[in-house]
Symmetry: C2
Subunit: 341 residues, 2 copies
């Protein structure tokens, strides 16, 4: 069969003119502000409501302001941006829809659960490299309280969480990708397949997502012929401490020895003392870590080449109630600093 | 500012090598099978459950089988398809996620409410024309009973629907787009902006979506310099009889005289005697009309050039309860038969 011109191997895509991350922005909640990277986000909310009447409105405002900030930092305006790509965890991705209403940029809504940031980066890079856009703004968000009451229990109920559960990050991250400009570039992406190894515990999303993360990483390295040590950082979205352990084991079994450079945004975002059990999760988890600490370290020269592995658990409360197991998906995005220095 | 190479005017994109619709498939529910086009779908379900225990499982099976059928008709296999693009109305697009799990094709999940078929066609065409794919399969679905109980009331409750309400179509449609092959081609697409003129009645989605449909169509004709009479058919997704009237009025006010060639999939899909009030709606509405009657008429030579205008109402039950109005979005996709004959 014929292979597409920009495809490498089975599931990986290369960009002939790698789209540049010319700006990025992040806004986080109070608890994320108290975490180890609290000073590296653009704005830390004083409370969960951000001046709004409901958590849902607060989440949408957070995403909207983060997207606006990324556009502003790139010294451009929404009218000069060709596409907005966004998605989130709320039913019918209303956080993103309402943010898009305020921005007036041609909008493509995405849903990849917590893999959405990587999905948006991969697609955005394809639109720029494919000649359809000069500039794409993309972002995603999650909010602890909107997620708790939608996916689990009313927050007021105070249900005890098992130790392997994760804590949904309150935060939004956004990137402005452009055909030209200064900044690290998106050079390749592996688009994942949906995998389901039968995990049914909706509190154990790390284990549900680990096989997808391992599969997409194995595919990335097979398709490119590279090795994990070619990267300064290989960071999954929100596997948490348990999922990260499972993914590492699966990678080793797959013949890929990942070292200290392999970690997870959900493991990084909080201090263990913050009592979040297995770590952070949610669309916002990888988005804020990328659009704060990670890209800042690339800017500072600490990292030259990284892989972001967005990981998503694709169930709903209804499918769990109907006895289904949890399908999962992971996309890999390579971000590299160009030659200078 | 620089303009992207493949962009025309403000929001329209042209494909240098227009991706070809090499195959298409549709499966509908019993009621759609009794409508005016009932004989033009590939398969009509005997009942709403399609052999499954729940309506949600039935919807996912319907989408999965439709996607498989489109792949099969193109004499290819899922392993030879570069991307699956899909979305639906259920929370966390679980219909699509579970269909993707069964197919094993690299998956990009979308959410554009009932505009999803047009969103998938536009994005799929960009991926093929941009050099990232040789073949993309895309599809979407809706199910009357899964939608009713998620967005409105338990179906058992028998709540009376107002005369301006629409009836969610039970059906799935899928297309296989390829870089080469025989069939009509996707030549251009206009990606819409989210518009909200303040409609708050969740039963009146036609009025909520009409401004977005009119805006994207006005933009399409301005960007391309063409006229409505250049097309054999300009068909919106699911405005219904009321929304179609509003859209026609808005187009006239915008200086665009649309004639008899302007209609709506929601108006077409049922007989008035089927008591669906303002017509059909749902992601499946435009998907089954496109992937059945419309593409069949293109194949037969009745139509040479058409515009599909996917229309989506981007609210959720929660945003309606929180007093928000209904944002809406519309994408335009041009499909043309090539020169032969």
């Amino acid at each position: 069969m014929l292979q597409a011109a920009k495809k490498l191997g089975k599931q990986t895509f290369k960009f002939d003119n790698p789209p540049v991350i010319v700006s990025y922005a992040s806004i986080v909640g109070p608890m994320e502000g108290q975490g180890p990277f609290g000073k590296e986000f653009d704005y830390v909310l004083e409370d969960d409501l951000f001046g709004e009447k409901t958590w849902e409105k607060a989440e949408s405002k957070m995403l909207r302001e983060t997207l606006k900030l990324a556009v502003q930092k790139a010294s451009t305006s929404p009218a000069e941006v060709d596409f907005l790509l966004a998605g989130d965890l709320l039913n019918q991705i209303v956080t993103s829809n309402f943010a898009a209403r305020a921005l007036g940029i041609p909008f493509l809504g995405l849903y990849g659960a917590c893999s959405t940031m990587a999905e948006a980066l991969a697609l955005g890079a394809m639109l720029v490299d494919g000649g359809f856009a000069e500039r794409v703004v993309l972002g995603t968000s999650s909010h602890h309280n909107t997620s708790e009451r939608q996916f689990r229990y009313p927050t007021e109920q105070g249900v005890q969480r098992p130790l392997w559960a994760q804590w949904t990050v309150t935060g939004a991250g956004a990137v402005l990708l452009a055909r030209e400009g200064k900044g690290p570039a998106v050079t390749r992406a592996t688009v994942g397949k949906v995998l389901d190894l039968g995990v049914k515990d909706a509190n154990d999303m790390g284990s549900a997502m680990a096989p997808a993360a391992a599969d997409s990483l194995l595919c990335y390295f097979q398709d490119t012929g590279e090795e994990p040590e070619d990267y300064d950082l290989i960071v999954t979205g929100d596997l948490g401490s348990l999922g990260l352990k499972v993914a590492r084991e699966l990678l080793v079994r797959g013949g890929l020895a990942v070292g200290e450079n392999f970690t997870d945004c959900g493991v990084l975002v909080y201090y263990p003392e913050q009592d979040v059990h297995a770590g952070g999760s949610g669309c916002g988890c990888s988005a804020v870590m990328l659009c704060g600490p990670i890209l800042k370290r690339m800017e500072a020269g600490n990292y030259r080449r990284i892989l972001l592995v967005g990981t998503g658990a694709l169930m709903s409360p209804l499918t769990v109630q109907q006895g289904e197991s949890i399908p999962a998906l992971a996309h890999v995005v390579a971000i590299e600093k160009k030659g200078e220095g």
